[in-house]
Amino acid sequence: MNATATDTHEQHDSHAPGLSDATAIKIALILAAMTALEVSTYYVDFGAFFMPVLMVLMVVKFFTVVSYFMHLKFEHQMFKLLFYTGLGLALFVYFVALATFKFFS
């Protein structure tokens, strides 16, 4: 077989710096704290901050899990592209669709 075969020297999967167990636990604690804060809105009246706080927490939790637990932050561009295209399209089409139902007004 000729020399250009890609597999002569094995390049390793982009197992970029894996998450150490300690970091994982730290992140989990942060997530737990955020969840506690979320739940506290049920007991404490946050007034006008209620919605923004919940939304921000939700988004931060979401991306924390995606970036660290799912490791996407350290993955190849391609994987980010695949996933975030889906996520972006979902946000776009459903926001627009809900907007036509006057959902946001």
């Binding site: 077989m1 890609t6 002569t8 167990d21 939304m55 939700m58 799912m70 994987f79 996933f83 979902a90």
Partner: protein, 223 residues
């Protein structure tokens, strides 16, 4: 180099998801490459999983949007604020969140080729997931007894469909985790298993992030 190599090669008896057909002729090509001989250098399986998850975003997006559109349309039956048990659901949410942590620990153990630890964490993850599903079953029963059937109104139909779809995803995840654990026990050699654990982990975390959204949009923000 012909038959000999077949005989000589110790075949692994378990090649999950291993369908890769691009085996060129090199000796190294025997390793049904998890990404070692692809054009991008990335694993086929992992790429497929990320694509699938991208696709799932649109699935859950649609269900969530349906719920958001219909959440206030309650013609009969109890209102969500009357039946939701936020402390209870908070605990289940917490359980699911922590199962993500144990899943991460399973993946790191697998990457260290530590079979025993991997099995342990997989089992714990599955148990946490099963607890979550159990909680959901309990919750559904309670709601049903309070008069909120699947067909009661638009809110109930879309609520049960959204959370039910999520529940089915968790259940499938639990089945996969337990099967994976069984397979690891049955088959001593570690091989490329780390990637399979990682793939199931990705799926599992995805189910978790969907719940992060559902928990906020469905439970914490009152209809």
């Amino acid at each position: 180099m012909t038959h000999r190599c077949l005989v000589a090669k110790k075949r692994k008896s378990w090649h999950p998801l291993d369908d890769v057909a691009v085996l060129t002729s090199h000796d190294t090509g025997h390793d049904t490459g998890n990404g070692h001989s692809t054009s991008t250098g990335l694993s086929n399986n992992k790429m497929a999983m990320w694509l699938f998850l991208g696709s799932e975003c649109l699935l859950f997006g649609g269900l969530i949007s349906t719920y958001m559109l219909y959440r206030g349309r309650i013609t009969q039956g109890p209102r969500p604020s009357q039946i939701f048990d936020i402390p209870f659901t908070s605990v289940s949410s917490f359980v699911l969140l922590m199962s993500s942590l144990t899943m991460v620990l399973a993946v790191t153990s697998a990457q260290r080729k530590d079979n025993e630890r991997t099995k342990l964490w997989l089992t714990i993850t599955a148990l946490l997931g099963a607890t979550f599903v159990g909680g959901q079953v309990y919750e559904f029963t309670a709601f049903y007894n309070e008069g909120l059937g699947f067909t009661t109104n638009l809110f109930s139909s879309s609520f049960y469909t959204l959370t039910g779809f999520h529940g089915v995803h968790v259940t499938v995840g639990v089945i996969m985790l337990l099967s994976l654990r069984g397979i690891i026990s049955a088959n001593k050699d570690t091989g490329d298993r780390a990637e399979v654990v990682e793939l199931i982990g990705l799926y599992w975390h995805f189910v978790d992030i969907v719940w992060i959204i559902i928990f906020t949009l469905v439970y914490l923000i009152p209809a």
